[in-house]
């Protein structure tokens, strides 16, 4: 079945004078998926999102959301889009409940049941004043306002800073939204948060898209990591077998990236006395670092991360 594009950019460029915000970015987010948008600070994630929502002007390129032009039909698009900005303020001196109701009324939407339900699940007190909230609680208000109006597309710009239990609940909420057919575009540099919920990931660097891939495919491409520690020194060439793409040695400890032939590698390793052995998959964090390291030929960055 053909996938339906919800948000699509073609050669999107946004310049800040001579400085590149985003350059030639072409990306498609499909209906019903959760896409992670990853990159370090200053990579262009927020610029991309704000341009897509017509909060700032684009320099060149095309953006269509729900088949509509993002700038010309901005108001129509916003009726179907929820947005959590990366950095935002709340109207002061009002209760959270009043503030959220105010936003619902601007959306001409009466889904206060969902608002209350989301607040309960995220442990947000609706009767507190907005200027009394901690950073984490303020983020919860932002998350609730982005999700409460049952929008078809939800865009979240770096929703990190929740405590671990609430973070888990937040991920559950996102998965539930996805099950209901919602499309979620979520940017982050806290990769562990995104890893557990995303179907696909786009990595951006210096305003340009590095890769767009399914998380599963990405992991298969990059393989698994075998870490072995021997009691005695061994010759590294003994471990250079078919299916092993990288070997990194740190005294008696070896870190191998394996795509296939795992049993052959283990047999070769078992010829020596093994002190420790562990098999891991690359976390998104390490994948992310790996992509960067490969681009900049700094492989030690990845291994140092283990």
């Amino acid at each position: 079945m053909d996938r339906v594009p919800v948000m699509e950019t073609k050669n999107l460029t946004r310049m800040y004078g001579k400085h590149v915000g985003v350059k030639d970015l072409s990306l498609t987010v499909y209906k019903g998926e959760i896409m992670g948008f990853l990159g370090p600070n200053g990579a262009g994630k927020t610029t991309t999102i704000r341009t897509c929502l017509a909060l700032i002007a684009k320099t060149a390129g095309e953006i269509t959301i729900f088949g509509m032009d993002s700038h010309r039909d901005a108001v129509e698009i916003r009726k179907k889009t929820g947005y959590l900005p990366g950095d935002f303020g709340l109207i002061p001196s009002v209760k959270v409940r009043s503030y959220l109701r105010y936003l619902l009324s601007l959306r001409e939407c009466d889904s206060s049941k969902k608002m209350v339900s989301l607040a309960e699940r995220l442990e947000l007190d609706l009767d507190r004043k907005t200027d009394e909230l901690s950073k984490g609680n303020k983020l919860k208000v932002g998350i609730v306002q982005a999700l409460m109006a049952d929008q078809d597309l939800i865009i979240m710009d770096e929703p990190s800073g929740l405590d671990p239990l609430v973070q888990q609940e937040f991920c559950r909420i996102l998965r539930e939204e996805k099950k209901q057919g919602k499309t979620i575009f979520i940017s982050s540099h806290n990769l562990a948060e995104v890893e557990s919920v995303c179907d696909r990931v786009a990595i951006i660097r210096k305003g340009q898209l590095v890769v767009v891939e399914d998380i599963q495919v990405l992991r298969e491409k990059t393989g698994k990591v075998l870490e072995v520690e021997f009691s005695d020194p061994i010759n590294i060439s003994e471990l250079k077998l078919e299916g092993v793409s990288e070997i990194h040695q740190d005294n008696g400890r070896f870190i191998l990236t394996i795509h296939e032939n795992l049993d052959g590698v283990i047999r070769a390793a078992s010829n020596h006395r093994i002190l420790n052995m562990s098999l891991k998959t690359y976390s998104l964090e390490q994948l992310f670092l790996k992509y960067y390291a490969e681009k900049e030929n700094k492989k030690e960055v990845v291994h140092d991360a283990w």
């Binding site: 909060l55 901005a74 108001v75 303020g89 709340l90 009002v94």
Partner: protein, 311 residues
């Protein structure tokens, strides 16, 4: 729903509005209370002009006789002479105990003589009155015709002895600057603070167009401007009633003279909103808008003043 942004502005900003409203009420009602004392003081000064008598000679080169009513407790009298009513370049022509002097008229131009009584060495001399060499002229009435005053009032004849004139000078003279600065401050901050406090992204992620957002903010400012004008009218009416001067005004005149300030405040609102959108910073926007308000206060003496002089 139309008006939601306006409602939220009032809901979050009502305290500031209330404080300013009370301030305007106190100013408008309170300033009228000064009038009776001011009128009595001015009347006393004007009567002082009658206490000095200047007799001109029938022919050029004759003697001028300047006499004045003696003042109780005066130890001596001094006379200052100047060609300007302001007396800023006056020179002392007489110091003594006489209450009448005679001197030769050997000049053509108009001159002014201020007669002052010296009570003791510790206190300042007391003005008895001012006389001029121009026949049939009252220097104090001339003072009120001075271009500095007529320019300020747009060339209209306004008497400070009447409550109407007093209100025009003392209330409306400063009211529009105070109201203008308040409106300038509000109109900039209602928008620029949304940018500065990063509230704009969430606001504009709702299906609210920029046009509607700005129009609702402009609407809020218009309602506030109207409210403070009405408060000023109520304050003035209350103040006038308290000194039994309300019957000197018609309700229409009082209302229209106050409400005529609204277009001016609306222009300030528009400038404030424009600068807030352009600069997105409260301080910068306020600097520009305040400059606009003060530039208007310079406009009056710089443009209306010469026009009055030409008239």
């Amino acid at each position: 729903m139309l008006g939601r942004i306006m409602y939220m502005e009032f809901r979050t900003g009502w305290k500031g509005l209330l404080i300013f409203g009370v301030f305007i009420l106190v100013i408008s009602a309170g300033i009228v209370q000064i009038f009776p004392f001011y009128r009595d003081s001015l009347t006393e000064q004007l009567e002082g002009a009658n206490k000095v008598n200047l007799v001109l000679p029938n022919e050029q080169g004759g003697n001028i006789t300047l006499s004045w009513e003696p003042l109780e407790n005066a130890t001596s009298y001094m006379i200052l002479e100047d060609i300007r009513l302001s007396m800023v370049t006056a020179k002392l022509t007489y110091l003594g105990k006489d209450t009448s002097i005679t001197f030769k008229k050997d000049f053509e131009e108009k001159r002014y003589y201020a007669v002052m009584a010296v009570i003791d060495e510790a206190s300042d001399p007391v003005l008895i009155g001012i006389a001029t060499t121009e026949k049939g002229e009252d220097p104090f009435k001339e003072l009120l015709k001075n271009p500095a005053y007529s320019g300020f009032t747009g060339g209209r004849s306004i008497s400070m002895l009447e409550v109407k004139g007093f209100i025009i000078f003392e209330f409306f003279g400063m009211w529009w600057i105070v109201a203008g600065l308040f409106i300038a401050h509000l109109s900039v901050s209602v928008i620029a603070s949304d940018f500065e406090n990063k509230r704009m992204d969430i606001m504009l992620s709702t299906p609210i167009s920029r046009r509607r957002y700005l129009l609702e903010k402009f609407g809020v400012m218009n309602i506030i401007a109207l409210l403070i004008i009405l408060i000023a009218i109520i304050g003035l009416a209350g103040g006038l009633a308290s000194i039994n001067a309300l019957n000197e005004f018609s309700a229409d005149a009082l209302f229209l003279s106050s409400i005529s300030c609204l277009p001016f405040l609306m222009v300030i609102e528009a400038v404030g909103i424009l600068t807030a959108v352009l600069f997105q910073k409260v301080r910068t926007g306020m600097g520009v808008t305040f400059t606009f308000v003060f530039a208007n206060s310079f406009y009056t003496p710089l443009v209306a003043f010469p026009e009055a002089l030409d008239g």
